[in-house]
């Protein structure tokens, strides 16, 4: 297993540190996540890449506090996930793979609700909603019910709902799945903007080309194990026959079909 990122000297403590994470679900002996350890540093865009069923979503769900690991530990911004889950939830934003919005509410109503659930309110919330709706080209449609939106519009609202409270860390589980190129570019551009302003991003995707250009560091995960980590450039350079991240990915995870 390669640990190229270990070679890189990081100037500060990681914002996310996972140690020997193991997860097996009740009633099953199979380990979905097998002894995973990795670190994510501030202002990184960290890609968790892998085929279907590799354990990406389970790993992200553990990091978000949705369910506890079977064993292992997670430290987020100095807080233990076991000991200070409430504190962790204050500083993270999560963009789930599915559209987690109320379809009969308008985009503005959805954002109002989620913003308040994050503890943002009043003028601050109103201004942020207007800002992000404008940035994502949704101001015109803001008072329409989400059920009338296109897939790309829903994805954009789904993202805004997770960033209204200016999270330190943003988890994105396949944020661009099923959207057109235009929407994808808008989403990626704004995520880069957020990252420039200090938000650390943890991102899963199947789009290797997107990940190659977007991520500063990636971990390739397969069958619940991390099989390679490093910057996309480092990984590509490590395999002489590979000229892009997708070829590295296929080289490491093989070409057999996954469920």
């Amino acid at each position: 297993m390669l640990h190229l990122s270990d070679l890189k000297k990081m100037p500060e403590n990681p914002i996310i540190e996972t140690n020997h994470l193991v997860k097996s679900f009740k009633g099953s002996n199979e380990q979905v996540v097998k002894d995973i350890s990795f670190s994510v540093y501030r202002n990184e865009i960290f890609g968790l890449l892998g085929p279907n069923g590799a354990g990406k979503t389970t790993t992200i769900s553990i990091l978000c506090g949705l369910f506890p690991p079977t064993s292992g530990s997670v430290i987020i911004d100095g807080m233990s996930l076991n000991g200070d889950l409430a504190g962790v939830k204050q500083i993270i934003g999560v963009v789930p793979q599915d559209i987690a919005l109320y379809p009969t509410l308008t985009a503005r109503e959805n954002l109002n609700f989620y913003g308040k659930m994050y503890g943002v309110s009043g003028k601050e919330l109103k201004d942020k909603i207007e800002l992000w709706l404008g940035n994502f080209g949704l101001r015109e449609a803001a008072d329409r019910r989400v059920s009338t939106y296109s897939g790309g519009m829903k994805r954009r609202v789904n993202l805004i709902a997770a960033i209204l409270h200016d999270p330190k860390i943003l988890f994105l589980d396949e944020p661009t799945v099923g959207v057109d190129v235009q929407s994808r570019n808008v989403i990626i551009d704004h995520l880069k903007e957020l990252n420039k302003k200090g938000t650390t991003i943890i991102y899963t995707s199947h789009h290797m080309e997107e990940a190659e250009h977007f991520c500063t560091n990636v971990a390739i995960i397969d069958n619940g194990k991390i099989i390679a980590t490093g910057s996309p450039k480092e990984l590509i350079n490590s395999y002489p026959n590979c000229n892009n991240l997708e070829s590295v990915f296929l080289h490491l995870t093989k070409r057999s079909l996954r469920d």
Binding site: F25, K26, C64, G65, L66, F67, P68, A86, K89, Q90, I92, V94, P96, D98, I99, A100, L101, Y102, P103, T104, L105, E109, N112, F113, Y114, K116, M117, Y118, G119, S121, R145, A161, A162, F171
Partner: protein, 426 residues
């Protein structure tokens, strides 16, 4: 602030769910109208002039007149003396009853009074040891024919025949008394001492019907008094459909996933739902009571009497609303899919309402079912409303039911919370 946001979100979702609103408000109103109108006739057959009787008086003397007068003044039945606009005869009455125009027909034969008189006179003469004319049974026995529609309840038939016996007995007693008086008077030389109107003085036993209410005033059980609270309770518990649906949608549409990653507890979100749906339940009840007070009387039905304790009504209503909401939360938590939640919710409420005496009052159920009905929260609520609306109870008379309903709410919410936590410990 978060709770307020959860409440506003829930109200907005509810207001945009037209089917849900129809289930919550229109369906129970229709149920109250339909069930009250249907059951009103059943209650009337018990309380009012519900049994239609065709009466053929071929006697035209005191016996026939007394029976007709007695039946007409009775609250048991409505008496008709014609069939299809023509004076009723024995034959036309029989045909009319056979065709279902009347439930019961009564035919008084010609000479009935004379036969009774003859019979009584013979009895008096025998008693006083006087000579009497021999009267054969065949010539003086009276055969009153009672025609019965086969669908008539045995209890109605028993009531009518019992009334007939009473009237005939009254006439016989009067004739006997008069005959004795005349015979005795003839033996008393001083005519001035003969008692006048003595028969009326013998009516010393009177019957008064009093409904055993706890307050002043009389409340007669009728379709409105039963159906309005019963269907209002049913409607309140039927929020299981929209509320469990709302919980299920949050699960399936992924909102719950995001909410679990936020710095807000699930209980807070649930509290938002509970507050909104408790208010919805109270609004439903208000609407149903106004149906009983305003709209049902417009259809000629009795006005709903709500007792004398507004505080009692508020206590039992709030407790019912919480119990209904707690049950809906439990169903929404247990169910894995929206369809499962709908089926589980609808069927369980139908079962609990049937068991709880919503469809048919528990007092007409067999003992086994009556014992089982004590396990239905709808029954606890209905008993509370009966205490207030029928028995004239006060605040204290509904406390027991209200406590049971609140305990039910706490238990259902506790189980839901436990299930939620257990499911997240995957």
């Amino acid at each position: 602030m978060k709770l307020k946001a959860a409440i506003i979100k829930e109200i907005l979702i509810l207001l945009r769910d037209r089917v849900g609103l129809a289930i919550l408000f229109i369906m129970p109103m229709i149920l109250i109208f339909v069930m009250t109108l249907i059951q009103d006739s059943a209650f009337k057959t018990l309380n009012e002039k519900g049994i239609s009787i065709v009466f053929v008086n071929n006697d035209n003397d005191s016996l026939g007149i007394a029976i007709e007068r007695g039946l007409r003044s009775s609250e048991l039945c409505t008496v008709f003396d014609s069939v299809n606009g023509k004076p009723a005869t024995a034959e036309s009455a029989q045909q009319a009853v056979a065709e279902g125009q009347f439930l019961i027909g009564i035919v008084i034969p010609p000479g009935a009074t004379a036969a009774v008189k003859n019979n009584v006179l013979q009895l008096v003469s025998q008693t006083l040891g006087q000579d009497s004319v021999n009267v054969t049974e065949s010539s003086d026995s009276v055969e009153i024919k009672i025609l019965i529609d086969p669908i008539t309840k045995k209890s109605f038939i028993a009531s009518v025949t019992s009334s007939l016996r009473e009237y005939i007995s009254g006439v016989k007693t009067r004739i006997m008394f008069e005959s004795f008086s005349e015979e005795i008077s003839s033996l008393i030389p001083d005519k001035e001492k003969k008692p006048s109107n003595a028969f009326q003085q013998t009516q010393i036993i009177k019957y008064t019907e009093v409904y055993a209410s706890k307050s002043i005033g009389e409340v007669v059980p009728n379709a409105v008094q039963h159906n309005v609270p019963a269907w209002a309770i049913f409607a309140m518990f039927f929020i299981v459909m929209p509320l469990s649906g709302s919980i299920m949608k949050e699960k399936t549409e992924g909102s719950i996933f995001r909410l679990h990653t936020m710095p807000s507890s699930y209980l807070l979100l649930l509290n938002g739902k509970i507050i909104v749906y408790v208010l919805v339940c109270l609004l439903q009840l208000l609407l149903m009571l106004s149906v009983g007070k305003i709209f049902l009387p417009m259809l000629g039905l009795p006005v709903l009497y709500m007792g004398q304790s507004i505080t009692g009504i508020i206590i039992i209503s709030v407790a019912t609303a919480f119990a209904a909401t707690g049950y809906a939360v439990l169903v929404g938590t247990i169910a894995s899919t929206e369809q499962q939640g709908s089926i589980m919710g609808a069927l369980s409420i139908l079962l609990l309402s049937a068991l709880g005496g919503i469809w048919v009052p528990t007092y007409v159920m067999p003992q086994v079912m009556r014992n089982l009905s004590a396990f239905s929260p709808l029954n606890w609520s209905l008993e509370g409303f009966y205490e207030l609306f029928l028995r004239g109870g006060d605040v204290y008379s509904v406390i027991g039911s209200a406590i049971k309903l609140m305990i039910f709410f706490v238990i259902t919410l506790g189980i839901s919370s436990w299930i939620n936590k257990a499911r997240r410990r995957i």
